[in-house]
Symmetry: D2
Subunit: 412 residues, 4 copies
């Protein structure tokens, strides 16, 4: 969580805003306009959209003297806020060659300058709250930038490298064990005195039967056993919709896996690499996660089971641009946070007593509560301070371009 | 629930099997082969499929002398049991003109005769269990026959009448009130000594916060207010996926509603009728149910809330072919059972500790636990004895051809 | 050509109308409502549509006392005449279970009775002309009935037999030769004193370079050589659009060919049969026809080449319901007429000076002159008297459910 | 036609290669990777592909010392030559961010340098022939660059300007008259002693009935009358497939026309402009051309009619980057060449006696001879020397992003 105080505001703002541009730095200009599938946005679009957020929700309503950078940007860089007006259709974001990257960077700096003036003056609670949302929003898009850049580069037949120094496989080998929990009536959801999105509230009671979580996430090596055992060919492991989906879309391995001359390779930000067997499996759909669990005669965790366990573990970050000491990863549940999003068995639903934010900012979470699964834990692509026990990520069951993996669970 | 005892077996079997044919009796031969959308099956297919179920799971494995009626029927009339072998693709069931209706009826009687021989002889527990499943299975298809026949006839531009004596609007006017519940730790799920599908087990504890249910379901008149208030034109009431869906599919009224010269009509089994304002709203999607609840600043019930309330109410049936005294409908929660399926806010997930049936019969429920919503209560199209407090029906969020409606809820 | 004279009117009318019902006689009621792909219409629809034609274009405008059979039939059974009003969408003709077959047959007899009254009274030239068009129109639908029935029955996984006495392979073996033509300035198109559709007029001059036609159509045996030589795997034989089409639709053999245990079978109206090597190849697309010609280093004929040759040959019919002496088939060009439609290299375009019929009847031909290929010669499914040298049939390049085959040609 | 002689080879080569880069000069780097619909290719792709053509068909086979620039470019920049091997799928050309524009320009210069070495040395006839094809090929892509750049920029919601100095409406007002032709037996096709594509051969005789062509192409003002008369709402003017197409795709005006506050605007390379009524209509489909002709009770010309007339007129060019004296445009048939492609009524078919080039170069024309219409005359986007009386351009009937317009014709 980003903690904003009057005396660190400018610094925090600058730190997060810079990180967004750092993520794009290794790219060519040409890479910034790519949108290789509908779910992905061009990096240039992300750079502009997160800036538009500050313009639309803070500068325009609260800074009287503020002069809009461009009348067209609201239309171009609104993501999905119906309340804010019409917008450019999502699947056509890759058609936006103008404004150029240079103009978008100018836009960012224009917004930054205007925001800095605001940050040093006295702020109302509401402005502070919106700045905090804006910065968390930008961190969310930093994660999307990582996933979208990876996907776009992968669609280049030449499999270009983003940065050959980076590793996506930071966990060494370890033997899994089971961590048991008694359950009972537990408290779930964010505490009211911390920052969290509206979907993490209200904190409420939940009854859990005894359960266990596996001490580490499923590895590439584990999953290879599933593949080699014909996992993709046996309908009995699969949800009905999943079975149809993999046939129709010919998905018989994780998204970035390729077989060349009998050996498996994985595309990473460091280019095409031989599979690391102890690496944590990533980029699989909910269908694949569920099928693997069935193959292992286990199940995925309920989100409250995961959260109950996580409340006893300190959140950690292994953000890919900022990797250093990974020693603690070897502990049981060492990869609970910050390595890979873990599919839960739960659909993304409102907590009892949930209330959406009011106004356009309220379009943030509630309207997606349907046909999506909850994911927990954060990943190598999640920025520091954006990981917490109550955080509820959510994606449709067929999604794979996020760093999505598996932690096994079972009822006791 | 169908209670089978050694001395009522033949009678119960005959009663349920006859009812299936009764449902088809008003149809022309031509109506029996129609499949006007992928979700719907031709009545002839239902007639054959439920018979194949007895052949495949009882006669073939348990009656040594049994001789298969036709080697091709397994391929034609298997619905989705991967474990039983390849099958005819679902969207092409309407291509099956042969066997003719006459042959399918012969098939039914052949199965009936063979089953009767089995029913009068001594049975093992396993056979009894399978007969029970087979009869419940047939009752489920009786409901589908009603919904599918209605849909197919509606696709005829002439809107033919199934039976002009039947009414789908059996509830008189009433003013809704709120029924309050304290919640707490409650027991949910079927009791182990009664028949229920595997997805209703195991009975388990659930913690509920205080809540309220509205005393009656939403009426056509209620929903008309939503339409007249521009409900379909205001994105703020809608789930994001729902909003896109209604635009793409131009759904701006319940499935069977038609506007002629400014007045609303509803297609029913008795043909096109003027809207009955006190009739309970039916044939709406989860998207519409959720939007209506948002419009009313309420929400849909969690399935455990519904079940907790329902455990205190005696199940009732108002099966459309068997209507008589509807007096009790006027009581608060009088339409909790048997009038319309009520969308719940919960996705269809396994209960903690859920175990699927083993073998092909285990493909019945578990493999659909993804991207569907739970519905509770039964409808006018649900046969008697097929309604119980623990029954979990489930359909995708965009489904409308079932009799699906709304009961409002709120957190207290 | 049907020659109508005052004294044979009733007889001719009755003869053609009866033949339509004869074609449907072997069918079950269930077969009459099937529409297994968009291009196909249910037999019941054909039965009604050809009757509606007489009602709409003759009885209503010319018989004052005529009372419409049903107000709804115009909407249900109009095929594509925009000028006549809105109509039921073509791909949903299979949704029409009502009127039943019985009612449609009643409709036919009602129309017949009303027409007979008209036929015995004095007629204007315009009525005579319209009756003639109506009867040719009905004959066209007789051919479609044959092709559509064959397709629909084939979609039944049990491959039912229409009539086990009928053979679709009536030509014995023969060695092909080349028939040479000098070309020059030739006359093409129907002569003005005979009945023909508007698209066969005006008769006009065309210059032809010297060319040759093969003395018989391509046989199943010939085509098997193409398959065995990898014809479907070599892009160099294929039009670019054809190559893409066969990959996308996985078409690697003629429509009704099936391989079982290494041997080729062909579905015919007499059920599944081993391939007859001397049978004339049928049910292939223009793409396949063109690829085969390329494989043989020949080409398909221009339509004027075909017609110039055909003007010297007497039209023959081998209509499948009326087969007898096929002796003449052994002559060179013995299968020029009445065995299989022959794809020409020409697109379906208006002849210079073409004028469409005026009024709704003018929607018959001209509006389809785009993205279709001309076929010549008639087939086993073409009724007697519906075959002539100037007849221009036309279908899109990917069409296969008609009896479409190949006659090779080359420039000299 | 580009006339290559030993002493002008280097100069000609350089002139044409430079013009390609000139066309791209006003673009931003970001514009070079855009592919806003499947038919369009990114400018960067065109720049590379035309260079690959020289590499693949000349440098590799004829220059022993030549070293390939990159092993991957064959896969990336092959357009459709099946004979040359697998290739990147066309609709995903916009996914290619790497190589960057800079690398592609390096590639161009590398090819240029290697070609120049070859050009100054002695050449075989075959090399000369291939250079000529390569240069014509590059000119074809210059036209596509213009059309694709226009389309891509138009897809930017900000309608950016390519070059505000350029006009696409260079013809002043003029009153149309009819130019009559007697027809008879005429010679059609390229003469054997000039350069032409294989599809323009062999020169052959064709019989033409008397006909007339309108003295100028249809103008925007003419077409506005069609729109205002409800042309898009009356099915009787339209081909059946065209009528369905415009409904499905909601095409009720030419591609680049937009109505703002009741006034029509047209997007051009100079940005959004008010409609110029005397400008020649462009960017319409064959369906629209045919409907307009029907509305005017005329027809489109047969391609031989157009060519017969054109053989008596000197080809002219008004290439958009090279505009100067347009005085001659005011003459009858002054816009026969070089203003807009004119849809003909003829499908794109082989001339009698047509033989495709052998080898991979033979994949150039013949394999597209199906479901396309011939267009004649060249346009403002056609480079100088790429316009001739026998030139056969071809596009599918629903294509609009080319500069396609109408010249009316009629039979006399």
């Amino acid at each position: 969580v980003i903690t904003l105080k009057p005396n660190n505001l400018v610094e925090k703002f600058q730190e997060i805003r810079s990180q967004t541009e750092d993520i794009c730095r290794p790219l060519e200009i040409e890479d910034h306009t790519l949108q290789c599938m509908d779910d992905v946005s061009p990096p240039k679009w992300h750079l502009a959209h997160v800036s538009w957020f500050f313009e639309e929700f803070i500068l325009k309503p609260y800074v009287e003297s503020y002069r809009e950078f461009s009348a067209e940007f609201g239309f171009l860089f609104n993501s999905y806020y119906n309340a804010v007006g019409v917008r450019h259709p999502r699947p056509k974001r890759g058609h936006i060659s103008r404004p150029t990257l240079k103009t978008v960077l100018d836009y960012r700096h224009y917004i930054d300058n205007n925001m800095k003036d605001l940050l040093v003056s006295a702020q109302s609670t509401e402005i502070m709250r919106r700045i905090q949302i804006g910065l968390h929003h930008e961190q969310q898009h930093q994660e999307l930038l990582c996933t979208d850049i990876k996907y776009n580069l992968f669609c280049n037949p030449t499999y270009p490298t983003y940065n050959s120094e980076l590793s996506e496989n930071i966990c060494g080998p370890s033997v899994p064990t089971w961590c048991n929990y008694e359950g009972g009536l537990v408290d779930i959801g964010a505490k009211s005195d911390t920052f969290a999105y509206d979907n993490e509230f209200p904190r409420h009671q939940k009854f859990l039967a005894p359960y266990a979580l596996e001490s580490r996430m499923v590895t590439n090596g584990d999953y290879l056993q599933f593949i080699d055992a014909g996992g993709y060919q046996h309908s009995e492991f699969w949800l009905s919709e999943g079975w149809d989906f993999i046939q129709t879309n010919k998905q018989f391995a994780p998204l970035y896996w390729l077989k060349k001359d009998g050996a498996w390779f994985e595309y990473t930000l460091a280019g095409l690499q031989p599979i690391d067997l102890s690496g944590r499996l990533a980029h699989i759909s909910y269908f694949e996660a569920d099928a693997y669990a069935a193959f292992r005669k286990c199940r995925l965790p309920y989100e409250a089971e995961w959260e109950h366990a996580a409340q006893a573990v300190l959140p950690k970050s292994f953000f890919i641009l900022d990797q250093n000491n990974n020693e603690e990863l070897k502990q049981p549940l060492g990869d609970l946070y910050g390595v890979g999003w873990q599919w839960t068995i739960d659909s993304y639903l409102p907590y009892p007593g949930y209330r959406a934010e009011s106004g356009a900012l309220g379009e943030y979470n509630g309207k997606f509560m349907c046909n999506q699964q909850v994911l927990r834990g954060g990943s190598l692509f999640t920025p520091k301070n954006h990981i917490r026990f109550s955080y509820r990520n959510f994606f449709p069951t067929n999604t794979r371009w996020q760093r999505t993996g598996i932690r096994l669970a079972k009822s006791l």
